[in-house]
Amino acid sequence: MIEKVLIANRGEIALRVIRTCNAIGIKTVAVYSDEDYNSLHVKQATEAYNIGEGAPAKSYLNQEKILETILTSGADAVHPGYGFLSENDDFARSCEKNKITFIGPSADSMTLCGDKMKCKAVMLKAKIPIVPGSPDLVKDTDEALSIANEIGYPVLLKSVYGGGGRGIRLVNDSKELRENYEAATGESMAAFGKSAILVEKFLEKTRHIEFQLARDKHRNTVHIFERECSIQRRNQKLIEISPSAVVDQKIRDEIGQIAVNAAIAVDYTNLGTAEFLRLDDGTFYFIEINARLQVEHPITELVSGLDLVKMQFDIANGEEIPFTQNDLKINGHAIECRINAEDTFLDFAPSTGPIHDVTIPSGPGVRCDTYLYPGCTVSPFYDSLMGKLCTWGQNFEEARVRMQGALNDFYIQGVETSIPLYKTILKTDEFKNGDLSTDFLKRYGILDRLTKDIKADKEANKEAALAAAIIHSEYFKSRVISSTEEGTRWKSQLD
């Protein structure tokens, strides 16, 4: 049984893990960089250890230092959160060697999930539907042409060593394929010393739908419904919803079973997520397994009533999942908005600095996981996620209007945030109707609508602004007149 866990993370996810540990009686060890000495996770953990400088490589990614701290503190387990070391199979392997329980899948399973080509091969074998394309690297133009003919144009030529959009070429016909194939292999040769090109069908309008998985060491496997994460910017999720508007119980059962099969195929243990793309015609394609707790896990908690972090600990302790697939019933609807410190109009550039003032929303059906408090700092060293604002409702509309209210109540002074963008998205008919896709922002001109909304907000607040400016000037005049009376409050001077 785990009695003391080191949380190898920071920010809201560290707080999230501490909450469950407090509830189930596990001692917590926080680690913090010099940048984070004033962070809430330091304050709320049973113990806290400084592990180095602000730069992630010198602290939260420093495997040796973290392993050393686990041993020093006497922790018997480590929770990696998400990001940082959460999907690092080397780290998971080191923990296994040191008899430290790594809260997540085995290192081998993690290796498999993280290797695109090996994972693809395993999934093909397990008859998991994946995006049509070459089963392996293509050896020449002719093979690429033959596969493209088979799956139909347009197709993507992808370098297996690329990632995040790099090394990908879109081709619309055989002529374009011929032209681009040479260039793509050339690039690959130049960069990596070998040609490593895949051919894959290009999918134009897709939804991102994922299934929460849980698998214990006794091979009991369940999915805990789906989450739709189609509202994205630059391949980063912004808003997540559970259940999806396009998944009914029949589809949930069917695709959920595929997700379960995928977990079994890689001998996955603990909690993970199977990600799918869904086309408008209803086809689902498996993409990958995320071998960790997801940022968006709270919406699954809201519709299932489960504590997913507790489940992680229970599974790591070797316990069996205490229910079967049929016991699970989806209850209501939940939405999550990721509250990022970023400037929407500066291409989502991060916005950092001290937070002078913050009001955290609450109320019926509202849950907000955040590290913010008045006086804290949003650091430029780490990602821009300040909090996760979630709402629940008996139906989607109730969850949506609660989210609108909560977004209005969320006041953060000090950095730019994604809140105005969400207010604009939440009120569009497209969002209300569930007409989502991963290109939602571009497809529906959301940024232009946001600009209009901001202008309308200014219009609505112009009189208040003018009034505030007048009072400010009035104060300023009276200060001049009575500036000898130092320390006198404005209010008394103004009357």
Binding site: K462, A467, A468, S473, F476, V480
Partner: protein
């Protein structure tokens, strides 16, 4: 006060019509009189009820011509027409220096943001001598007469007390 609001058409006029006491005012905004009650106020923020509607406003930064405010979470930039500030400035001038004096005295306590002139430079009455900041507002301090800068008594980044000498002009 006359002003424009960035991104909003038209010009706006507003003034205090009456002070009712208990932090209540009658304020005229573009010809419409409204009741304004201050709930809370300091140099960086104000909370008030304007015609029964609560508003929370943060004062960010301010110069003689521009003011940045966050009104109920919305960033608004006001471009002020100069005459208000001239009134303020006149008020400042009353407490300041007269032609016969050498010393240009500071009408307010503040931090010295910049000094426009070097020792020995010629100045005309009304030329900006330095910029002071006080309560997050920047105020240009102007020469009280024609002449030459005899000495500079302030430093950039330093501060000056009310009635402290800024420069001597002879």
């Amino acid at each position: 006060m006359e002003c424009k609001i960035e991104d909003i058409e038209g010009t706006f006029h507003g003034e205090i019509v009456d002070k009712l006491g208990k932090n209540e005012y009658i304020i005229k905004l573009n010809d419409r009189e409204q009741n304004l009650k201050i709930l809370n106020m300091d140099s960086r923020k104000i909370e008030f009820v304007l015609d029964q509607k609560y508003h929370k406003v943060k004062y960010l930064d301010s110069t003689t011509s521009k003011m940045n405010l966050v009104v109920d979470g919305v960033l608004i930039t006001l471009n002020k027409h100069a005459n208000l500030d001239e009134i303020v400035y006149k008020n400042l001038g009353i407490a300041g220096s007269t032609d016969s004096e050498l010393a240009l005295k500071s009408p307010i306590p503040g931090k010295v943001i910049s000094i426009a002139l070097k020792k020995g430079a010629s100045v005309k009455k009304g030329d900006v001598v330095c910029i002071l900041e006080s309560m997050k507002m920047q105020v240009a301090i102007k020469a009280h007469k024609d002449g030459k800068i005899k000495s500079i008594r302030i430093k950039e980044g330093g501060s000056v007390a009310k009635n402290g000498i800024i420069v001597e002009i002879e």
